[in-house]
């Protein structure tokens, strides 16, 4: 029932990096996500796009790591953008009010395009 959690970085471009998550984003996965993202930020990829299309479940720990990443990106004058948020996670982000802080796009490409200054997809 528990999917193996995967973290990929399919795309980097200057300060931009896409971090794609798939599986159950819970307390078991959260530390690794956080660590990977902070590593990207530390290596100059301060504008992160989290592709959440593969996330089947997200609990408070998952949200926690998103908040942590958002903070670190902000401290590095960067940003965290969410892309392809599954419905349930979308509701969770809404309930927790996180959607007001984290810009969201329908897909990673849309998020990238927006981050690159082409704001037509927002």
């Amino acid at each position: 029932m528990t999917d193996a959690f995967h973290i990929d970085v399919p795309h980097t471009d200057g300060a931009l990096a896409v971090i794609a998550l798939s599986g159950e984003f819970d307390i078991a996965a959260a530390p690794a996500v956080r660590a990977r993202a902070l590593e990207l930020i530390a290596t100059g990829h301060t504008d992160l796009v989290a592709d959440l299309s593969g996330v089947t479940f997200c609990d408070s720990s998952g949200l926690g790591s998103l908040v942590g990443i958002w903070r670190c990106a902000k401290d590095a004058d960067g940003s965290l953008t969410l892309a392809a948020i599954p419905d349930r996670l979308s509701r969770l982000l809404s309930v927790t009010g996180m959607d007001t802080f984290l810009p969201a796009y329908s897909s990673a490409d849309a998020a990238l395009a927006a981050r690159q200054g082409n704001r037509t997809t927002a």
Binding site: D59, R71, T96, F101
Partner: protein, 586 residues
Amino acid sequence: MPPRDQVRQVLAAEDLVDMAGGNVPSELCAQVGEQLVARTTKVVTFAFSPITAPGCGLAASTMPVRTTKLAVRSGAPARSVGFRRAGCLVGAFLGGMSETRNMPEQAILPAIAPSEPLAVSVEAARMAAVRRYDILDTPPDGAYDRVAALAARLFEVPVATVTIVDEDRIWFKAAHGLEGVSEIGRDPGLCASAVLSDDTTVIPDTLLDPVACSNPLVAGPMGVRFYAAAPIITADGHRLGTVNVLDTRPREISEADASTLTDLAAVVRDQLELRLSALHVIRAEQEKRQAEEEARQRAERDKAAIAAFASTLQRTLVPPALPAVPGLELACHYKTASPQEVGGDFYDVFPIAGGRSAFFLGDVCGKGAEAASVTSLTRYTLRAAALVDADPTAALKALNTALLLDAAVGTRFCTAVFGLLDPARDGGFTVTLATGGHPPAYHLSPDEGGGVRVEAVRAKGGMLVGAFAEAAFASRTLHLAPGEGLLLYTDGLTEARTVDGHMLADTGLTDFLAQRSAPVSAGALIDDTVALLDTLPDTERDDVALLALSVPTADAAPAGITTTAHSAAAPTAPADASVGQEIRRP
């Protein structure tokens, strides 16, 4: 007893000068063989114990005297037999003096340099060694018995013994031919004298020996006439006792025999050394075991102390007992995923000013001890905030600030629902509910058909608490009339998986609640919700907290009676709780 010429030879000029303080008749010295003096290889210092030889000037002094001795190791072998023996040396010396009568007693006595402190310290060190070997009063031991038997056989004597000289007695470690004797007094002449020398003592005829002649073994019924002894000398030079051979008739022994006796004493010495090292090993082992035992006990005490401390601390983390709120029925359920019974879920109900009460329920991000520390901070912050400003959004704001001030900022945040209960005229309550990113509470109210209507109480704009400095919190007000109830929960309930692997989710929960009948009772609501959780597999994965409030109808709760049955139970958890300790109230 050595012949007179030997006696004179042993009195080498230096010795005599030393012993007599320089006042030695020259004719004695003159007879000392030049060769003997030239062969002197080692000078040994030893002490005499008090000697009481009647008619003997030197012995009468009863003073230990310091002297030196010649030819200890080699030198003139033919002469050394006699020279090697302290007692004999004295005897010979005295004999020589008394026979030659060349030296008046008074002339020599004052000249002897008393050195009692030295003798005392030597004896003290010797006794320390005796005690160190811890051999006194030990049971018979075959090894020593064999040495005694061997000595008796080799020397063809009726009695052979292995003795240890104690402070005031001579104790027999082995006694061949002396059955039933375990110790004798430390009378001079035999063992007591022999133990004072590094050399083998030989007294061919005790009756001719001025000291030995009065020893009880000689003068008494046993009538010892021949005595020879070799001291048992430890590696560090202490004489513990002697190996002795005794006969009832006088006899001479050869130097080879004397060496044999020395060897037997060495065997005893080796045996004692072996025994001592074995004792050391055993003692070291015992000490090690003792140290290990002490360490183990200390560890257990520490463990118990830590457990007691953790238990005390844990009680501050677990939600407290629910108070009695007049006109309100309260019930709750609390279960942690961690075996330490600390978790990230929290709730509380407490009275505030103006007859009002406040309550909150929330969920700290994370689990276990890490989450519990935030839980604690959260609970106390909310309680304190409510005392300052009863407005629920203000309380969440205060919590947000407190969490952001925390050192681990950004990693510690929570979702929470905070409510204010204001008694209403109809017996119900006006509830002001603020939410900080928490799933909606459910308001259950009777519908026309005897069932309940389930409404999610959402406050638009409530955000995660402790994550964003700019976070905003919103509140909503609702009326909780008699017969109605409110259910607050953490995601441990809605994220619980059903048998088919799906989460219960909001829909599952609302469906479950919608099946209930009116009026709503907080106790029954919690009972049934817990029963629902119990039907779900794998619910020990997450912390779960449930809090239900209901206003009893007039007929269910006569005026003046507070309905607190479900909150009366103490929240204390059993100390030996295992994984997923469940605290249920009632």
